[in-house]
């Protein structure tokens, strides 16, 4: 066997090994999972995936994960937005129907939900949920954060917002 053939076989074997690894399925664990064009919070958002959506993770590059979207495009999500746990399924979604067929039950009411808060609020009118609602509207975008840091001459160690 000549050296060229050995090398070719080796390359083929290595290629097979990497391409054979199936993408891992992870669930979005934030209310609105943002898929970005590259592995940075400053990269543009190319798609949003709702809580519980299953994502095909093709590559891990901590703290980022490359995901493949249903339309074939790829993008990047921060790992903290994903979990290996299977989260609740949305009522009426295709996932629910599929889950029911597979004999799985959607564990929607598990623990604490909006309905539980509503009941709790009615029972405890002194609690200041109004301020909590207001505070939730105070989002700072990654671009605003970067501009704020720059204006204060706060220079991130990596030279960029992660």
């Amino acid at each position: 066997m000549n050296r060229g053939l050995v090398l070719a076989l080796l390359v083929a074997a290595l290629t097979a090994a990497t391409s054979a690894a199936p993408p891992e399925t992870m669930s979005v664990q934030v209310r609105s999972g943002q898929v970005r064009a590259s592995a940075s919070f400053l990269a543009p958002v190319i798609a949003e995936a709702p809580y519980g959506a299953a994502m095909a993770v093709e590559q891990r590059s901590p703290p980022w994960a490359r995901v493949r979207l249903a339309d074939g495009r790829t993008g990047w999500m921060h790992e903290s937005a994903l979990t290996r746990e299977r989260l609740q399924l949305k009522a009426g979604s295709a996932d629910v129907a599929a889950g029911a067929r597979a004999g799985e039950v959607a564990l929607a009411a598990k623990g604490f939900t909006q309905q539980v808060e509503k009941e709790y609020r009615q029972q405890n009118p002194a609690l200041q949920f109004g301020w909590v609602d207001r505070m939730e509207t105070w989002a700072v975008t990654p671009a605003e954060a970067a501009a704020f840091l720059k204006a204060g001459r706060v220079t991130p160690a990596g030279g960029d917002t992660r």
Binding site: K90, V96, L107, E136
Partner: protein
């Protein structure tokens, strides 16, 4: 509760080995008990065998120790209620320029934490209180008192306080305070398809469990503290975050020294819930290592001084 609903509840309690255990119990028509003590009561009344009881106890225990059973969405609803409870004790400080500034510092820092994304995101609010304190609501709703802000002499010191609280959120320290006994109520609430509403008795049980969990977390935040190990973790997270973002991690030491001077042992605020600052200072110093302290540039100090006027 009839036997059917017991099996339904129990199947939920026993997840994931549902398939193995549920059929075993489905044939048991007379079991009428649920929640804590279920196995003991079942055996005592001859309704289940010792072997079946052991199986229930084992799975129940593994569930009880698993904080992970709470979903990120559950964490979000708990954090909202905990923060609404804190706001009933300490009113919000309604100054939009200050709250915006604190959110810019805090949310910028959160991008550099080990957990930049949570279900609802990180949000910050100043409390109109002279106490020296800050609270990390699960999921990222962080509140900080005017008294604490007055202690900060630079933006870097404010960043150090907020980074420490973000560290508590990232490590889910608040959720760890929830007593194991709450799980029974929380997790026996039923199995329904997503989007469907809970019925009367099930809803009441879920609300009771919710109330208990909120009480556990609030009690820990306000009275008992997370404990030394959790404070150490939050300090370490803060040092990493400050360094990555570009703030001076020595600001955390400066804040701890200031608190050591201001707080009286046996005081009612931060002193009550946090270990001796001198121990923490020593540990933070060793985490920072030889990195030199850098004074904040003029632009940063100017915007800090401007927004803090009147606080």
């Amino acid at each position: 509760m009839n036997s059917r609903s017991f099996v339904r509840h129990l199947a939920f309690l026993l997840r994931p080995p549902v398939a193995a255990v549920a059929p075993l119990l489905a044939g048991c028509q007379t079991v009428k008990v649920v929640s804590e003590g279920v196995a003991a009561v079942g055996v005592a009344t001859g309704q289940i065998t010792e072997e079946q009881a052991q199986s229930i106890v084992r799975t129940g225990e593994s569930l009880g120790s698993a904080m992970e059973q709470l979903t990120p969405e559950n964490e979000y609803w708990i954090g909202r209620a905990v923060t609404a409870t804190i706001l009933a004790r300490h009113p919000a400080y309604d100054r939009s320029d200050l709250n915006r500034y604190v959110n810019l510092v805090g949310q910028s820092l959160a991008l550099y934490s080990d957990r930049p994304e949570t279900f609802g995101g990180y949000r910050f609010l100043v409390l109109d209180s002279d106490d020296i304190n800050a609270f990390a609501g699960p999921g990222g709703l962080i509140t900080v008192t005017r008294g604490m802000l007055r202690l900060c002499r630079t933006e870097d010191e404010l960043a150090a306080v907020l980074a420490h609280e973000i560290g508590h959120v990232a490590h889910r320290h608040g959720l760890k305070a929830i007593k194991k006994s709450r799980w029974t109520g929380a997790f026996t609430t039923i199995v329904v398809e997503a989007g469907k509403q809970l019925g009367g008795a099930d809803l009441a049980e879920a609300v009771r469990a919710f109330e208990g969990a909120i009480g556990d977390v609030t009690q820990t935040l306000v009275n008992s503290g997370y404990g030394r190990a959790a404070e150490r973790e939050a300090d370490a997270a803060a040092v990493r975050m400050l360094r990555r973002a570009g703030y001076d991690p020595h600001a955390l030491i400066a804040m701890l020294e200031e608190m050591d001077r201001r707080l009286k042992p046996g005081g009612l605020d931060f002193a009550k819930t946090h270990p001796d600052p001198t121990d923490r200072i020593r540990e933070v110093r060793s985490l920072i290592g030889g990195l030199a302290s850098v004074p904040p540039p003029a632009e940063r100090q100017a915007r800090f001084a401007a927004v803090m006027r009147g606080v």
